[in-house]
């Protein structure tokens, strides 16, 4: 799979402790469609924020971004809105997991967050472990290999499906993978 390690563009900034009920209100969890979820992303903050979100590529936030529930749609809705990376001072752990597992780049860099201006450009090279804010470059600890593999596959399910089709899955899932392999190529697109 071809890998593009550098993602980014115009950013939209938020403060500390942005919770999952703000990112995607519980009433919309009946959907798992990224586009449909994206329509309601950040709805509590009003239409102007939503419009700006959809025009942005990067979400920049303060501490504890994505705190609250374990809902995976908090990440999916951002992907649906066209966000390619989230840069935060820190993440709630479940949001961080969900981001990796749905294929959304999420990096912690309090220094970068401080340097960012709302609406400015932010780029993330997650292989190099660098956040670029204008001319400034901020380093962060690159992803462990295991996480990067999942991220680059486009998320956990896409990764597993890909593994299954390669016949290289873990021992535990080998039986399952053999069944999955025949369908894997056709399902990859929909999974991602």
């Amino acid at each position: 799979m071809a890998t593009e390690h550098r993602v980014g563009g115009t950013c939209i900034t938020f403060g500390d402790d942005v919770n999952t009920d703000v990112i995607i209100p519980g009433r919309y969890l009946v959907s798992i469609d990224p586009a449909e979820l994206a329509e309601h992303a950040f709805e509590p903050l009003g239409p102007e924020v939503q419009r700006r979100l959809r025009a942005s590529s990067v979400v920049v936030a303060g501490r504890n971004f994505g705190c609250g529930s374990a809902r995976e749609q908090a990440s999916t809705c951002l992907i649906g809105a066209g966000i390619t990376a989230v840069v935060a001072a820190s993440f709630s752990r479940v949001f961080f997991r969900n981001a990796i597992n749905t294929g959304l780049v999420a990096v912690e860099s309090p220094e970068a967050v401080t340097a960012v201006q709302d609406g400015g450009e932010v780029w993330v090279d997650y292989a190099a472990g660098v956040v670029e804010v204008g001319d400034e470059r901020f380093r962060f600890a690159p992803y462990p290999e295991a996480l990067r593999t999942i991220l680059e596959a486009g998320g956990l399910i896409a990764y597993l499906t890909e593994q299954a089709s390669k016949g290289a899955s873990s021992k535990a899932s080998s039986e399952a993978s053999s069944k999955a392999s025949s369908k894997a190529s056709s399902t990859e697109e929909t999974v991602r």
């Binding site: 709805e43 609250g68 597992n101 956990l156 399910i157 535990a172 993978s177 999955a180």
Partner: protein, 420 residues
């Protein structure tokens, strides 16, 4: 090398030894809990084209968030789960009438000390009340675990919280936790394993320990833990778990903690979280008199049997104030049974409470929605903007005692003022 609970639990679940915080391991959970989100797992599995599961006996499904269905869509989602459970032989399937997943699974002996449990619910930290390692994940990870039996986990650092008691009358585990969340803030324990120790913790029932571990999530914890003891063992025996059916894991003396917090509960006043974050905590007296439209006694944090008893003690002989709706949602069918057997239910009914079916109820947005400008005092664990209806409504969080006292007065009230 001395180890924390988290190190021991993840060594057990990964088969590796000598784990240190920060390390990432492949761990094999003992149980994968999915609630109403189960249908998403099933759909994801369908898209993967897989129908062989790693170990169906480790799957637990509880239809708790929207129970019963309030739309044809949700009714269809529930049916999908029932049919899947039937077809795949998921024996730990609990339907819309069972109650809140966490409470149901603990009551039914599915959670045991030392186990690793993952759940599609952030408050899966609650399983620490029985000495297990519980943590929340997204539905894709549950699906992946169904197939592969494992997931990656970062070995967390640990925080040790030592609480001394007893607490003054009218104060409860919820008050302790709110104070702690207020002090440590909403991300004070992010990625960490939170261990509860001390004389106060030892004196608590499993139900009360559930309140501690549940709310640890609101500090960002990865998991929470109360050391198993005789209280734990009795609870497990009542739930039908054989004494040799589990392995208690205790942190070593001298284990390394990122932080040790000592909390003296003996002079604690009732606490309340004010809108719109859980760590925005003040003593109840500071906001006493705030008018309420609704009081909700429910959720995995505070709608267990003990919680209803506490509420009933305050409500006995009183009536809910005119203009206030008091909604009581027992956490589980078992809780409802107990309350109906000993007069607690009668007391609540006579006081004017609306008793709903067991489940997540208003906490998961299935009931108790508010209109613009309305105010609810809730015993649940989140007060985020818009979580209960309108974005222009407000949620306060408190103990069942404070909730009951406030329902009587129609405004936020220190329960000590009513009990006295």
């Amino acid at each position: 090398m001395t180890k924390t609970f988290a190190q021991k639990a993840l060594e057990r679940a990964s088969g590796e030894t000598g784990l240190v915080p920060g390390q990432i391991v492949d761990a094999y959970p003992d149980l994968y809990m999915s609630h109403t989100a189960s249908w998403r797992c099933i759909r994801t599995l369908e898209r993967m084209g897989v129908d062989t599961l790693y170990d169906v006996d480790r799957i637990a499904m509880v239809m708790d968030h929207i129970s019963p269905a309030n739309s044809a869509k949700t009714a269809g989602d529930h049916r999908l789960c029932r049919e899947f459970a039937e077809r795949m032989g998921v024996s730990k399937f609990y339907d819309v009438n069972a109650g809140i997943a966490h409470v149901v699974l603990m009551e039914n002996g599915h959670i045991r000390p030392g186990q690793l449990i993952i759940g599609t619910d952030s408050h899966s930290t609650i399983y620490g009340a029985l000495g297990a390692f519980g943590t929340g994940v997204g539905f894709s990870e549950i699906t992946a675990a169904w197939v592969t039996g494992k997931l990656w986990l970062r070995v967390p650092e640990s925080i040790k919280i030592v609480i001394e008691g007893p607490l003054p009358p009218g104060t409860h585990p919820k008050d302790i936790m709110l104070r702690l969340i207020g002090d440590l803030t909403a991300d004070g324990a992010t990625y960490c394993s939170v261990e509860f120790h001390g004389s106060y913790v030892e004196s608590l029932s499993v139900s009360e320990r559930m309140t501690l571990c549940n709310l640890a999530m609101e500090m960002g914890a990865k998991n929470a833990f109360v050391p198993p003891d005789d209280v734990t063992r009795r609870y497990l025996a009542d739930a039908g778990v054989e004494p040799d059916g589990y392995e208690e894991l205790l942190p070593d003396a001298g284990a390394e903690y990122r932080q040790v917090v000592d909390l003296d509960g003996r002079a604690l006043a009732p606490q309340i979280a004010v809108p719109h974050t859980v760590d925005n905590v003040v003593p109840v007296d500071e906001v006493a008199g705030t008018r309420l439209n609704q009081v909700f006694i429910g959720s995995c944090a505070n709608a267990k049997y003990d919680d209803l008893v506490i509420a009933a003690e305050v409500l006995a002989g009183n009536k809910v104030a005119p203009g206030v709706r008091l909604i009581v949602t027992p956490a589980s069918s078992t809780v409802m049974s107990k309350a109906a057997s000993d007069g607690v239910l009668s007391t609540l009914i006579e006081a004017g409470a609306t008793i709903t079916n067991p489940g997540c109820g208003a906490c998961a947005g299935n009931g108790g929605a508010m209109a613009d400008g309305e105010v609810t005092l809730s015993t649940a664990n989140r007060n985020f903007q818009g979580r209960m209806g309108s974005y222009q409504s407000q949620i306060y969080l408190s103990s069942p005692a404070t909730a009951a006292a406030s329902a009587i007065r129609g405004s936020i009230t220190n329960p000590q003022d009513v009990l006295r």
